[in-house]
């Protein structure tokens, strides 16, 4: 619209000043127009476009992000649980024993939980170990002899079944355990 007016006043000696004023006059008219007369785009659409182009995380997008994060976490947990369930119950005890023989010997009796969730016993009495196992697997213990002097360096996986643990421990010379009707008998 502005370009339709030929700026003939530019030929006047004070043409540049008149041009400035002409611009201001046109602006003053446009500025006085009501909102409906202005082709202002929809603010929501303008914001959506801007946020997408300039990667501004609006409130809603922030919300979606948290939902996405929660979904990822849920899937991870479910996946991990499924993996644990389907995994073979244990590795062969013989391999475990080899790793145990090379373990460092600490000065005091300690029970440590390793990153792999194994029960690690350093110079721990057989009595304590068996009671621990029984408690872990919900079994009872019956002592036929006093084994408090038998002390072991060993490592048991929490993932093993009670029978596997017993079988593993029976490989020690001084250990003779029996599992019957969910009761560990120390012979």
């Amino acid at each position: 619209m502005r370009n339709k007016i030929k700026a003939e006043w530019l030929n006047e000696p004070d043409g540049e000043e008149l041009q400035q004023m002409a611009t201001a006059v046109r602006e003053s008219y446009v500025n006085s127009l009501p909102d409906e007369a202005l082709p202002c785009p929809d603010v929501d659409a303008a914001w959506e476009e801007f946020a997408r182009k300039h990667r501004v995380q609006s409130k809603r997008r922030g919300w979606q992000k948290w939902i996405a994060a929660a979904c990822v976490l849920l899937i991870s947990v479910v996946g991990y649980a499924a993996f644990q369930t389907l995994k073979p119950a244990s590795e062969t005890p013989a391999v475990q024993q080899e790793t145990l023989t090379s373990a460092a010997v600490p000065s005091a009796a300690t029970l440590t939980e390793t990153e792999t969730d194994d029960l690690v016993y350093h110079n721990v009495s057989l009595k304590q170990i068996v009671e621990e196992l029984a408690s872990l697997h919900g079994a009872k213990v019956s002592f036929q002899r006093n084994v408090s002097e038998v002390r072991l360096y060993t490592q048991l996986s929490r993932k093993w079944t009670l029978a596997e643990c017993i079988s593993f421990l029976n490989k020690f010379d001084q250990v003779n355990l029996q599992l019957e009707h969910n009761t560990i008998t120390v012979k």
Binding site: D14, S28, A46
Partner: protein, 166 residues
């Protein structure tokens, strides 16, 4: 540090006033959107430290300056090309400019002779050419030009900050 939520609120509340300002100068919808987006992007990236409540004023000034720069870069007429930088220099703040627009409207409405007001309105608000206005008012195009030039001079004498008078 401006939060995304705060920025979104600022964007939404200032978009229409900024569009009005940009459209007043540019009269092109796409150009207006480009200028506003550019200014907002700059604001978001640089996060200038603006006092609370002054953000919209800052954005208006930024849009105003960006519009004048765009007009200057697009102008092909050499005489007009120097006008916009001059406007930037003379009417440096958008607030002064908005006051000027209101004063001009008041002057045209209250002080201008009827015929001159009629011609100015037809030319500047309705956008009719000199020829069209001449036919509507059954006067000659040169008379139309005379009314326009006289009207502009009256306004210039009233509002020119340099105080030059013919």
């Amino acid at each position: 540090m401006i939060t995304p939520a705060h920025f979104e609120q600022l964007f939404r509340q200032s978009y229409r006033p900024l569009f009005r300002l940009a459209y007043t100068l540019l009269e092109d919808e796409d150009d207006c959107q480009d200028v506003i987006h550019e200014v907002m992007a700059n604001y978001w990236e640089k996060q200038p430290e603006i006092k609370t409540g002054k953000e919209e004023g800052y954005l208006k000034q930024a849009v105003y300056n960006a519009c004048l720069n765009l007009l200057a870069s697009k102008e092909r007429n050499q005489k007009l090309k120097i006008v916009y930088p001059e406007m930037l220099r003379q009417r440096s703040t958008v607030t002064e400019n908005q006051e000027l627009w209101e004063k001009i409207q008041w002057y045209i409405r209250e002080k201008m002779p009827f015929k001159t007001r009629e011609v100015i309105t037809l030319c500047f608000l309705q956008g009719f050419s000199y020829q069209e206005v001449a036919e509507m008012l059954t006067i000659s195009p040169s008379t139309v030009n005379m009314h326009v030039v006289n009207g502009l001079r009256m306004l210039r004498n009233e509002f020119n900050p340099t105080g030059k008078k013919k």
